[in-house]
Symmetry: none
Subunit: 203 residues, 4 copies
DNA sequence: TATGAATGAGGGTTCATTCAT
DNA sequence: AATGAATGAACCCTCATTCAT
């Protein structure tokens, strides 16, 4: 009965936003952005369409918010790693962190990949992906590492490594939990970075 | 004056079907199946919506016809390669043929990949992909080859190779002609199959 | 090889028209006029849509031609019966002829009835039915007969008789060959006209 | 200012549903189900097409809801009458109630009859009519009554009575208010059940 | 005579978004 | 904060009809 404090309002607000984003991500990932209606999302969350529009001004806005969350991970990772002096060690960390993030956020990556494939399909997503130029930086890290390892063709090897990683993720996202993701992570580190042990930082 | 012969009708039909499939593939690949309307396809071809339905009974039917064309390539490749006695040589051929097909049919693979990512989004595509179980066979070819090469962990290496290939395709499909696809093909053959030369059968 | 004579052309023409009307009647009766497309009729006959339009200038024209055939029966019956001196005998003949026509042309009556129920649904049919005022005449015959039989309420009895006949037809058209149509014909003659025997004029 | 209560929403819903059903029934009855577009119904009600779909998930669903209302009458009548001990009295009541229902719901019966005539034309209606097997029960009531009245041929007489009733309805539905429906009801009761007086059970 | 390609209007349906309450 | 009624544009699809050949 007592009126809610502003803090309570904020808490409710944050929780609502989280619920909406979670439901939307799940549905976007499974059925595709275009095949997911606002109605379905609202029903999944258990709120009215109208209220959903109190938190996100459009379907695209909701998509942008979801993508933003994922970009934050990439930005944080770059930040964490930028100052490292050993390129090989840096690359190792990037790989481990990324594998773990994919394992923990499969839906996000499913959505991300499906959007990345058809940038023309969605203006907002297209613009955001162009802006969030993470991959470029990571690619340069990779070349650095192979150069330091005296690899004869660091560029090709970098392309290969990043292709292998993306391919592994693709397989994992399609096959799901039957895919030996953890094993492949260790196999990658071993084959590309000669890292023999390592518990993989598994979550 | 005299009525058209059946051959003339057939010619018109074939040409129209080809025009429609071409336009649809282009748009599906660029904008996504869900974002491509029949109207847009018809406009692209320069015909009325109604006429399109003389050739394809539904949007899904059109999609199926397009996918079928691609599956035919896979089936033909398997057929060609099945009887080969040397697994390594067989794998080499599969890789080369597939690289070439991807290079020549980028739109098809763009569409294919985008559909493969969200099988729940499209019933028809989902069913067709389940039925056309090519990847499984190709994976077994790969394991065979590495076993013959006495690789210590043929399964993991097979996973890695197929991931690398798919990743390369992903990059190529996203980046386009700037991507060094031909170079990566040679690099792959060299690194995974110890094939040193080879002009790659380039088309 | 020898060129066809005009008579042959006419014969072909008549046959085509008959085929088209037959197929159209069957489909109109079963699926309804609105649910039957020109394409379906042409396919059923085994000719092209274009050719069908050589014989009937529109779908409505085809419907009109079919209805006309049925009206011809009614007109002929009236003609045959008009001069009869005994109203009872005349009514008996009308009933027998009508039962027989319904039995032999169930599809026509199915179509006729479905159209008669919703005159607003089809302008052509509506106009034709209004013009072909057969029922009115037959009703008067019926009243005449009952008057001659000294029935205390000839009008009501006439309404009843014609309702019973129409109801029997309705049941027959809905139930089909399981319905005891012949038996009901005899029962009607017996109960309404005191006709005890009669082989029913069975065809 | 304050949001609408659930009761208010319910009231709006009920009213809209009633408006839609009323308009649809009127149009279906007059023009036929196939000739009545959702647009026309919406225009008749004065709402957008889209809103109509908030209340009925499809045109067929709307039809089903309308038919359901009519079936409810039949079920209630059967229920009311089932326990009656005197078959003749029971039949009398069924006849009176049905005449009254037809008189009060002419549009419904127009629609019903038009659908019953071409079961192949509409899957939903076909299935519902098959399931709602009222006529069969009523027919058995009728036979019972004639058997109790020692009629020499109860089955034929039952067929005749039900045909007469259906025929009367047919005439009434086609002719409209000029048809002496009330008079025919009394005439039927008198001729078939020897009921001489009766206020007609007027509703 | 004969074909079927071609059109265009209209039908059923969905959905992002707005708004009164 | 919260609801769901309401709209309108766009979507997939059908079909009577016309026309070049």
């Amino acid at each position: 009965m007592s009126p809610r404090t502003p803090e309570q309002f904020d808490a409710i607000r944050s929780q609502r936003i989280r619920q909406i984003k979670d439901a939307a991500l799940r549905l976007f990932a499974r059925d595709g952005y275009a095949n997911t209606s606002i109605s379905k999302i609202a029903r999944e969350v258990g709120m009215s369409k109208g209220l959903l529009y109190n938190y996100f001004s459009s379907k695209e806005d909701l998509l942008a918010a979801i993508l933003e969350d994922g970009f934050a991970f990439a930005a944080a990772l770059i930040e964490e790693v930028r100052a490292m002096s050993d390129p090989v060690e840096r690359l190792r960390l990037v790989i481990e962190r990324t594998f773990d993030h994919v394992a923990a956020n499969a839906d996000y990556w499913r959505l991300y990949t499906s959007l990345a494939f058809q940038p023309a399909a969605n203006e907002v997503a297209g613009r955001m992906m162009e802006a969030g130029g993470t991959p470029q930086i990571v690619f340069e890290f990779t070349v650095d590492a192979f150069r330091q390892m005296q690899h004869p063709d660091p560029e090709s090897e970098a392309w290969l490594l990043s292709a292998a990683i993306d391919g592994i993720f693709m397989h994992y996202l399609q096959i799901g939990e039957d895919y030996p993701l953890e094993k492949m992570k260790r196999y990658m580190l071993e084959r590309f970075l000669n890292v023999l042990d390592g518990d993989g930082g598994g979550g």
